[in-house]
Symmetry: C2
Subunit: 190 residues, 2 copies
């Protein structure tokens, strides 16, 4: 493994075990068997390293979405499966998830991160499109609908991460909230 890949992997591991605060460039360097400032030979600064972690995770997410899309499930099931992929990622890697969608300083970076995020979102749009063709979702512009679903998912995940998803609020889990939304959006047949 090249040094830069190693640094990204170590940073990702630190995010998982200790959260964003644990990712000091000094810790990344040492955990990689290098000096405290070796990371600077591969990344411009701390934000650039974190953006590289986010980029790798978006690549993974795009692949996961693609697998779901190419599966043999019903369109509506594919949609829920895609959402579940993100939910599971946010539960297993909360700090890394926040890097993807809730950290303006990182997410706003252009280049690889931006384009990879776009590819992942493109897969999601295609799944939404299938749902619309199957009349499982209403006939709105598909990118708009996909954006709304994605935003809702992210909002629910953030709500849960903040400990604000309480039964008194009528929400018990991200998944059930999304199921309710999809159900409410489904075209009515009367």
């Amino acid at each position: 493994m090249t040094t830069d890949k190693k640094l990204i992997a170590v940073a990702a591991a630190l995010l998982d075990t200790g959260g964003e605060d644990a990712v000091t460039l000094r810790a990344v360097g040492h955990a990689s068997g290098l000096s405290h400032n070796a990371p600077y030979k591969h990344f411009e600064n701390r934000d650039a390293l974190l953006a590289a972690v986010a980029t790798a995770d978006f690549v993974w997410l795009a692949e996961a979405f693609k697998s779901v899309r190419q599966s043999s499930a019903e369109p509506a099931a594919k949609l829920m499966n895609a959402l579940k992929v993100v939910i599971a990622f946010s539960v297993e890697h909360p700090a890394r998830y926040r890097l993807l969608l809730s950290n303006p300083a990182i997410a706003a970076q252009k280049g690889d991160l931006e384009s990879t995020a776009f590819i992942a979102f493109g897969e999601f749009i295609m799944i939404v499109q299938e749902c619309q063709a199957a009349k499982a979702l209403p006939d709105a512009p598909n990118t708009t609908l996909a954006g709304l679903l994605f935003a809702t998912m992210n909002g629910l995940i953030a709500m849960e991460a903040s400990g604000r998803m309480r039964p008194e609020k009528g929400l018990t889990s991200v998944e059930s909230g999304l199921k309710t939304l999809v159900h409410l959006l489904a075209p009515k047949r009367r």
Copy 2:
């Protein structure tokens, strides 16, 4: 103004002008005309000071929601007005907004912050309830529906803050996204 109120006001001002990184306890102390560690005499640590800022903002938000609710507008207009209040706050005070809903380390704090957030959300629920009574929103549990709308709004705001709300994604603004959602949720009459 008591010293603790002063420190909260100074911290809020620093959040507005320089973002979260600008809020060092040293800067807060100095900008308050005190020493670098005077904040420790009023707040346990940096997170506690930030939580106090968030609490004050939730109090303001609850009042703003209440004004909207008690206005003479139509229920559906009240809903959009309440959402606009939050959107405007997120635009004018992005760093403070993130403290309210997108910062687990802060948002997860119990006590005053938690209860104030709950009061603000309660006002929002009542507005949603009025919309349901007026048939402007579907007949789902009101807390669930309110939670979904709030989560979507937060997700859209985060998406915009990350620079990911691109026309290619079919979303041009937080407000138009929410209008589309409310329109899609509106009970169909055929």
